[in-house]
Symmetry: C2
Subunit: 443 residues, 2 copies
């Protein structure tokens, strides 16, 4: 007799639709390779070139040899042995974050992680001590953070975004409500620049106001910022919340997946908060995150770190200049996508009633509102009949929300497919709206 | 005012001595670079050669191009894009495990992980659903598993090893005791081949008997096997528990840190158990682990996977032959260590009373019993006065145990330092025993 385990006897996260939704989406995408896909938020394939890997490895080892005076044996140890849990490129990442984002912090305040996802897991594990600790998240929300919270059985409370992103007063009200329940609102997670999935760019004034709310309500802010190289408009990007942070309220989650490439799986956490021990001594929160990391992945592959380190030393210390070809592609593709939406979705009369979309000023994502349930059944039809793929917005909500919305990503679709993709989308929306209208009329 | 967090308000694992002990040990080791060190269980530095990295990357891309007929664009996507959560080298790892260990399992039953540590975390998270679920561990125990359990707030019960490792009847008794308490003994973790830290090699009969106990008690077995290439004696190694497993009781945790090198951070889990969903459909446990992995690290760096994949294709599909120079070094160094112990620790009369050690037939570790507390104070003295480093065995016990024992590792010390190291150790033990005796006499 062979052992069969019951799913119901495994951890609850495995029965949660949250962890299934992305798998299910990937499965539909995989089943329709001939479709034009606005679904994945991944970088554009044609920007990837494997010669960058060996060039970067060479640049990093040259940097070790020439600038840090490492011997051949020391280089081998650095790249191939167990290494420090908090990483070997903290100094290079600290310099890059200063150059690229204007965030000044010492290398000791960083932990290099196996992708930003591990950073989220470490931060949540460190900060959440008690069943009454609550994580606030902007809603709709990136599933990486809610999924990590689910693994740790943490309580999560969504705070609905408005048209201009999170309203600081809504966060304050949520924190007060949670505290009134005898629970502790511990931290707020958000993506201020071109949020995934809503594409909204939080106004500068709201960033400052959220920091004020965090101080009043004794919240930490988990700022996740993968898209801030990808502004569409001229002029300076909005300040990161971390760069405005005078009190140490912000834990900054960094990714190189979009600014360099995903396969390195290099993220980082900037956690410069002080932690006070019982004996009065202090450490940095980054040190505490490292202790947790020693029990999740021990250390991040130094080979992967070396690749990112090499890209940094090859590019004057930052990633912004190296990422400019990618940024230009995304900027132009977003403009194409918005132009095609305006072209193919005609206004009423003549067009489909109840269709609209937002106009993000950068990033990867546009949200389209449709007059029918944008669910997986609709997605299956769009894929099978119209050869077009997108993501249901409802996947990004805890509980209800986003039922009649879909997310379009401009990041992974070739430029010459955008217009045809939107044409197909418009045809699908018209057909589905007509059927839904007919069903309403007869139902 | 700047935010200061209280350690007491962070997750309990961060106040647990368990997570601190390894950091503390590393800190002492770092403070005494001139000491001879039997402390770290890491591979020998001089076995590492960075040219292996690029050779392996080249071999893997050549394999993709020539055997799998990948285009240049497909290769770039494979190495640099987001990839499947369960990994890109599952087929190569499945073949290696079949060749090296005689374990036959399909690629779909594997998940490639960011080091074996992540594999432990995934398995624990999947299997432990309820506060009453209990993990049994061989005691003394590798801290990676107890630390991962601590992060997830899991209940852990140690089962003491005897001279020949875990006694199956002790495991059965522990499981019965736990069940009598209304809790569920869920899984047993052990390292059958040359356990870390005890060095014990579990007899073949005990392996089979433990499988029988697992069946009777409805336990899963988490078999961690980093050292099974490192037998000192001629002839076949003992069968892995997974190779004896007819029922699917064993989840096999694999590492390439010792058989290839640590810096790739590539581990794997073989989890071929069936999981039944509420609708009667089944998946593999490996699929469920992948869902959890999507929320810990998304996917393991494909560059790191490519390095291990390249080493495999360069070596006829397995790692055993490639690891033979390392295995020869460890074999000879263990023999040197045991010979030096016999030479420098003279028997009574004349020698120090109460000193003894075990005689592992392979692996990295020897346990020495001493007539005083082998604690961090003793280690500090050994390092400062005698320039010799080792690991307190008490670090590997939950609760009491190992107070008068220390672990010596032969893996990281140069061959020509072993004898001098043991000479210093003997001098330290004599001095510390004399002082402890004097303290006993006057105390």
């Amino acid at each position: 007799m062979t052992v069969t385990l019951d799913l119901a006897g495994l951890h609850g996260s495995l029965s949660d639709p949250l962890l299934d939704s992305m798998n299910f989406l990937n499965e539909i995408v995989a089943r329709h390779p001939d479709a034009i896909s606005f679904a994945p938020g991944r970088p554009y394939d044609a920007l990837l070139d494997t010669s960058a890997i060996t060039q970067a490895l060479d640049a990093y080892t040259e940097y070790l040899a020439e600038e840090r005076l490492f011997t051949k044996e020391q280089i081998a140890r650095q790249l191939m042995q167990y290494g420090p849990t908090n990483g070997i490129i903290r100094d290079l990442i600290a310099r890059a974050v200063a150059l690229d984002e204007g965030i000044k912090a010492p290398p000791e305040a960083f932990v290099i992680t196996a992708g930003c996802q591990e950073g989220m897991l470490l931060v949540l594990r460190a900060l959440f001590a008690d069943p009454g600790d609550v994580l606030l998240v902007a809603s709709p929300c990136y599933v990486g953070i809610t999924g990590a919270a689910r693994l740790l059985d943490l309580a999560v409370e969504p705070v609905l975004e408005g048209e201009h992103g999170l309203a600081p007063e809504a966060v304050a009200a949520a924190a007060q409500r949670i505290r009134a329940q005898g629970r502790r609102p511990r931290a707020l997670y958000l993506v201020p620049d071109f949020s995934n999935p809503s594409g909204v760019n939080l106004p500068a004034r709201a960033r400052q106001a959220l920091l004020d709310v965090a101080a009043e309500q004794d919240l930490l802010i988990l700022e996740d910022n993968p898209y801030n190289f990808f502004y569409s408009y001229e002029g300076d990007p909005r300040p990161t919340m971390k760069s405005l942070d005078r009190e140490g309220r912000v834990v900054y989650l960094g990714s190189t997946a979009k600014s360099a490439f995903p396969g390195a799986r290099i993220g980082y956490v900037l956690a410069d908060q002080s932690v006070r021990r019982a004996d009065g001594s202090t450490t940095l929160l980054a040190d505490e995150l490292s202790k947790i990391k020693s029990m999740t992945t021990v250390n991040t592959s130094p080979i992967a770190q070396a690749v990112i380190g090499g890209i940094l030393v090859r590019n004057g210390g930052g990633l912004r200049a190296a990422a400019e070809p990618a940024a230009a592609f995304y900027r132009e593709n977003l403009a194409r996508l918005l132009a095609s939406l305006a072209k193919h979705f005609r206004p009423e009369p003549g067009g489909v009633a109840g269709v609209g979309w937002n106009h993000p000023e950068g990033g990867f994502f546009v949200v389209v509102t449709v007059p029918f349930a944008a669910d997986t059944a609709a997605l299956e039809r769009a894929a099978a009949e119209f050869k077009i793929l997108w993501t249901p917005m409802s996947d990004f909500y805890l509980g209800d929300g986003g039922a009649r919305q879909l997310r379009l990503s401009c990041s992974a679709v070739p430029a010459d497919q955008v217009d045809e993709g939107v044409r197909r989308l418009a045809a699908f929306v018209a057909a589905q709206a007509a059927d839904a209208g007919a069903a309403d009329a007869t139902g």
